[in-house]
Symmetry: C2
Subunit: 222 residues, 2 copies
DNA sequence: ATAGATTTGTACGTATGTATA
DNA sequence: TTATACATACGTACAAATCTA
């Protein structure tokens, strides 16, 4: 007996849930576009059953929105939505960092510091946009993880799905990757001292994100 | 042509989603108990398809939890979960009330005041537990609605589902219905003045809820 | 407005994997 | 452990609703 094949493959409905989610956040569908389960099932070479179940989950995420009659359309992010979502994100990330400050072990804080160092290094070496998105994302994820509140993680993840569209904008072209790293480092300075000032700095950081996003959303519209 | 029958009935999968959700939060299943789609389908006299889709939604809500192998069990609320969830709830309700203070119209505030008056009246007349739960819930819902952030409403609703179990405990037996009304009235005093002190009072109110719940959860365990 | 073509909602059948004796 | 029963994942079929010509 060998050690391979240790876990069974995920069921189709979960695989397609992830797959379609990626397609949506990566902009492979036009926002507002209608989505067709029959067509998707054919495209993936499976029956409609697992596709339907995946679509139910995507609707819960808010990535699919019920059409007037029946069926779904792709979520379309309005400027008001961005603002609303950032208000929520700020509230939850504030909680996360507050909990993290009191609960994270010294070792966990060290992991965060190492991540920031690595990010600085990779920026210097001209890493790709997608890689920077990943590293930036990871900073927030670590804080979340070290807040040791599983439910908070779940909630924030579900908010973050909707702003992933935005996350991409934040890095496209010149982006503000260097600025973001700088802000993350500032936040961490206070985390290291376990000072609540980290919360304020995180809030400012997220506010900068929001302002930047709104600017880009407006220019895109022209 | 008449005005009746204006909306078509919901599809089964949505009807059963609501139905099963109610059954779970009302304690008709034992937490941790395994749930069987074949059995449910038979009990409701439908095929497994709509039941399956309903169950996916319930899993997203967190009311059903994936079993090790396959299938679902009913979510079981641990004391740690209660604390985690209340932390999130407090963060989101704080945001809600902060937004409400700046955005709600005078008329909207009046609606809240009327709700509190009505609640006081019904308590005096010895209303039922279920009715008091409803009125209490409605206070929080109005604040949420008048915060004018649709996404926040969605998020908080999804948190609240998990603590609805608790909500019931809050009123069973003697409960603290009168105390809750009192705290709501205090919160509202500051809302009326559009003072941020309302936020603090809401936080205290939720903390009292939490402490009370934990006490009841512990005594129940004996 | 009607007829035909899509598309969704639901029933049902089958295969595979899991529990149970 | 093996064999049986059972539950779930997925496919297929059909009916009802919706769209389109």
């Amino acid at each position: 007996m060998n050690n391979f094949d240790l876990h069974k493959p995920l069921p189709y409905y979960l695989q397609f849930y992830e797959k379609i989610k990626q397609m949506i956040v990566n902009g492979e569908y036009e926002p507002g576009q209608r989505i067709n389960e029959t067509q998707l099932a054919k495209a993936f070479g499976v029956s409609r059953s697992p596709i339907r179940e995946a679509m139910r989950l995507l609707e819960k995420d808010g990535l699919l929105v019920a059409d007037q009659k029946t069926g779904f359309i792709i979520y379309s992010l309005s400027p008001e939505d961005v603002e609303e979502i950032y208000q929520i994100r700020t509230a939850l990330e504030s909680l996360a960092i507050e909990l993290c400050i009191t609960r994270a072990s010294d070792e966990e804080l060290l992991f965060i510091e190492q991540l920031l160092d690595r990010t600085a290094e990779e920026i210097k070496q001209g890493a790709e946009d997608s890689r920077l998105i990943e590293l930036n994302e990871h900073f927030h994820q670590l804080i979340l993880e070290y807040s040791h509140n599983k439910h908070l993680k779940k909630q924030l993840d579900s908010v973050n799905v909707l702003i992933y569209f935005c996350r991409v904008l934040n890095f496209k072209g010149k982006g503000r990757a260097a600025e973001i790293l700088d802000e993350h480092q500032q936040v961490f300075t206070f985390m290291k001292k376990r000072s609540l000032k980290a919360v304020e700095h995180m809030q400012q950081h997220l506010h900068h994100d929001l302002v930047y996003l709104q600017k880009r959303l407006n220019t895109k519209r022209d």
